[in-house]
Symmetry: C2
Subunit: 100 residues, 2 copies
């Protein structure tokens, strides 16, 4: 699940058109279309608005927001999955020894 898919899902479940959601977010509907298709990214502040509008978890949206960015970086990479593991191990290692 990407952020774009999630936003589209939330919007449709609320029976809302792109135009309406776009205006709530104060962006154009063409831009929102691209966001839903992961061709453009929203500002982080927009996630707050979305979580309020659809009453959903901001943490989940943030995970999708960052995760979709990461995916865009590695999607055409041979070593994409291994790169994810490198990053994961590093996070785990730092946590273990409490290095900030």
């Amino acid at each position: 699940m990407t952020l774009g898919q999630k936003i589209k899902e939330l919007r449709e479940q609320a029976g809302m058109f792109q135009r309406e959601l776009a205006s709530q977010l104060e962006i154009g509907d063409g831009f929102l279309s691209k966001v839903e298709n992961n061709q453009k990214t929203l500002k982080r502040e927009h996630l707050i608005k979305i979580s309020e509008l659809f009453n959903c978890s901001i943490s989940e949206l943030e995970a999708l927001w960052i995760g979709t960015k990461l995916y865009e970086i590695i999607k055409d990479e041979q070593e994409g999955l291994n790169a994810l593991k490198v990053a994961e191990q590093e996070i785990i290692y730092r946590k273990k020894y409490d290095i900030l």
Copy 2:
């Protein structure tokens, strides 16, 4: 293991000084120092040179190169680990259904 650590390790195992490796890579030694401490990133082409110089796997270097970049993005993120999972699931999903 980050790319910086790896490079330092390879360099020291070869008994080489930063100045020497830096000159092989045609960069300044101050810059290499930052690379080894993950404050700056090398160009991708540099990885090839390094793999030749130390006779090590280019794939591993690339995984570390991308992975260290990903780590820099998520290291201060609450949802960092979840974001990695989002990206991983997306890769796996696309592979499963053969979506390019």
